[in-house]
């Protein structure tokens, strides 16, 4: 599936100051039964958002009307555990375009990039700064610029750069997807198969 082009996001944030958020929390297994890629946002963080009687848990940031926006800011080691891509779909479907953390699990990072959701890894220090700014003023905005690979706190203009593999960056900027590329080198793949009878 071609992905949406990504350039720059300027938005307020939703803070989730918890470490080791695993994909079972992002989207619990019992919601993985769909055979299509849509509608997962409704069940994003299901068991943290709703109690056993389906009442909203008001203390959870997604339920707090103060917080909104296209950027999810989360604690270290975000997206660990299961490889379910549904986690990235759910975050994207809910309306986020960027996840910021000081550390991402590998598979989640790939899954996010393959779906036009930008994982932005910053230092612990800068992450704490962002959490604090949001705490002070929930409407604080961040600017995430993919072209320049920077995150800026709009109010204070404090800035940090982030890394992204240059190939993946181009894919996101152009909305280009890996499969298009792989199909374009079909001959090479065949050649490899002929040379290496496994």
């Amino acid at each position: 599936m071609p992905i949406e082009k990504f350039k720059l996001v300027k938005s307020s944030c939703v803070p989730l100051n918890t470490e080791n958020v695993d994909t079972d929390q992002i989207i619990p297994a019992r919601f993985l039964k769909a055979t299509e890629r849509k509608g997962f946002g409704d069940n994003l963080f299901r068991d943290w958002r709703y109690d056993n009687h389906n009442n909203e848990i008001l203390s959870f940031p997604l339920n707090n009307p103060k917080y909104s926006g296209k950027i999810l800011v989360a604690g270290s080691n975000f997206g660990c555990g299961s490889s379910r891509e549904h986690a990235a779909w759910a975050i994207y479907d809910y309306g986020f375009r960027v996840v910021i953390s000081s550390f991402f699990a590998d598979i989640f990072r790939n899954n996010a990039l393959n779906n036009g959701l930008l994982p932005v890894q910053i230092s612990d220090n800068f992450l704490n700064k962002i959490f604090n700014i949001i705490k002070e003023d929930a409407s604080s905005e961040l600017i995430v610029d993919l072209e320049k690979q920077t995150v800026t706190i709009d109010k204070t203009k404090e800035q940090e750069t982030f890394e992204i593999n240059s190939y993946k960056k181009q894919c996101l900027l152009k909305g280009y997807d890996d499969i298009d590329y792989l199909l374009s080198i079909k001959d090479k793949i065949e050649e490899f198969e002929n040379k290496n009878v496994v």
Binding site: D22, D24, A29, R30, K33, N52, I107, N110, N111, N115
Partner: protein, 458 residues
């Protein structure tokens, strides 16, 4: 400079390297299941494509299936839909499917090895993070997302940035009663749940050399729980012996030729790793987890550590455990033996050897779920089902079951489960359920005692 085992296998599969970008890696075996494949098939069909190499693809339905009455129709509507979709997709694309009631049916990471499909030097992927299991054979095996499943469908290749390399060496002899599960829980507790992120781990040293293939699979299986993409162990005589005679293993001259090749798969002496860690086998004791990620583990006889941050504090609260206190004596409600970590015949044998002639505690509900149809059959042939029955326990039918509780096998809210699976995340075994991870022998001791005890004093 020499090459590591991982380099040897990875480099041999590079079709092309993109400058400043990922490698394009050829995949020898693509395993698929009902939960992470349907959307990939939809994507593929939207592009008007067929699966490029159905002969290198193998399917099973494991995540979502019931573990009793498998001969009757599945009750859960959405499960039925996923299982049917898989059947239909496999038919359309000419993919072999070992579905429910097939004699080779089972958890994807159990059937690959037992059928001789998993072999040294291969690249193996599956839309499932525990694909790392297959690394026990000296293959490069890792979990992928659904977009990547679609990639492999379309091109038999995957784009992947080469991970860094870590070697974990454990020398010395394990004490009696210490299982491969304890070894890996120990390693993860030392590395933490994120300590392996960005790496592929090679396990080396006496402990792994002396381990059975099934033990090695238990270890490699949980590599992902410290964040590593996968783990692998150099193949040796134990590996070759295990493969010989299996259904899809090479035979005769072909096997001899392959073994010669497999013997070259080891890390050269002068190979360099990005990180090296060593442990001493003597330090490893029977382990249990007390928190909500697999890195939160400790020897079963120790006291719950004081939380070091808010997340850990939240975790202890969820688990209803107290820092500074021992877990021994805590009442347990459920015991789960199974999953791709500990659902193989050796695990069932180990569990049953401790249960034999005893009765399960009244307060325990025990789910014993074989990893595959073949494991189930062998367990019955060996009379393990009778031992269980005499203890008041039923042998169920194969599937992922309470490992991720997508089917009916859910631990109710608030209940405490002691589990041989691989994840103790909040609600992993059912919404609100609490999970502590252990090895099969510990699970058996707890089944009898009804509470947490040290299996070695039993």
């Amino acid at each position: 400079m020499g090459k590591t085992l991982f380099d040897k296998v990875w480099d041999a599969h590079i079709v092309q390297s993109i400058e400043n970008g990922p490698d394009i890696l050829y995949i020898d075996k693509h395993l698929i299941h009902e939960v992470t494949s349907p959307v990939a098939f939809v994507g593929l069909e939207k592009r008007g494509l067929k699966v490029l190499r159905p002969d290198k693809t193998l399917a099973t339905a494991d995540h979502n299936v019931p573990t009793i009455n498998q001969d009757k129709p599945i009750k859960d509507k959405l499960s039925v839909e996923q299982v049917n979709k898989l059947t239909e997709n496999c038919k359309n694309h000419g993919i072999e499917l070992y579905g429910l009631n097939h004699k080779y049916h089972g958890i994807v990471h159990v059937i690959g090895p037992e059928l001789g499909i998993t072999q040294p030097g291969m690249t193996i992927v599956c839309g499932d993070s525990h694909t790392a299991t297959h690394g026990a054979f000296g293959s490069v095996a890792f979990g992928i997302g659904t977009s990547e499943v679609e990639m492999v469908f379309a091109s038999q290749c995957i784009m992947q940035t080469k991970p860094k390399k870590m070697r974990i060496t454990v020398n010395g002899n394990l004490s009696k009663g210490v299982s491969p599960k304890d070894v890996i829980l120990y390693i993860i507790s030392k590395l933490t749940a994120s300590g392996g992120t960005g790496y592929f781990i090679e396990y080396a040293g006496d402990v792994f050399k002396n381990m059975t293939m099934e033990g090695r699979m238990t270890v490699c299986n949980m590599s992902i729980e410290c964040g590593a993409r996968g783990g692998l162990i150099a193949p040796d005589e134990t590996t070759f012996e295990y493969i010989k005679g299996r259904k899809f293993a090479p035979k005769g001259k072909e096997l001899e030729r392959k073994i010669q090749n497999w013997k070259t798969l080891f890390s050269d002496e002068d190979a360099e790793f990005d990180k090296e860690i060593e442990f001493n086998a003597n330090d490893i004791k029977p382990m249990i987890t007390y928190g909500t990620n697999p890195g939160m583990g400790m020897p079963i006889t120790e006291k719950v550590p004081y939380p070091s941050d808010l997340s850990e504090e939240k975790s202890l609260k969820y688990m209803k455990v107290t820092e500074g206190k021992s877990l021994v004596g805590t009442k347990v409600d459920y015991v789960f033996l199974g999953s791709c970590t500990n659902g193989r015949i050796e695990d069932l044998r180990e569990y049953c050897s401790h249960i034999k002639g005893k009765k399960k505690a009244d307060n325990i509900t025990a789910w014993i779920v074989p990893g595959s149809k073949m494991v189930e059959k062998q367990a019955i042939e060996e009379g393990l089902d009778k031992i269980l029955k005499e203890a008041g326990i039923e042998l169920r039918q194969p599937g992922c079951s309470a490992c991720l509780a997508m089917n009916e096998d859910k631990v109710p809210p608030g209940k405490l489960s002691v589990s041989t699976s691989n994840r103790n995340f909040e609600g992993r075994q059912g919404p609100g359920s609490r999970t502590m991870l252990v090895g099969p022998a510990t699970a058996a001791a707890i089944t009898i005692a009804g509470k947490i005890i040290n299996p070695l004093t039993n």
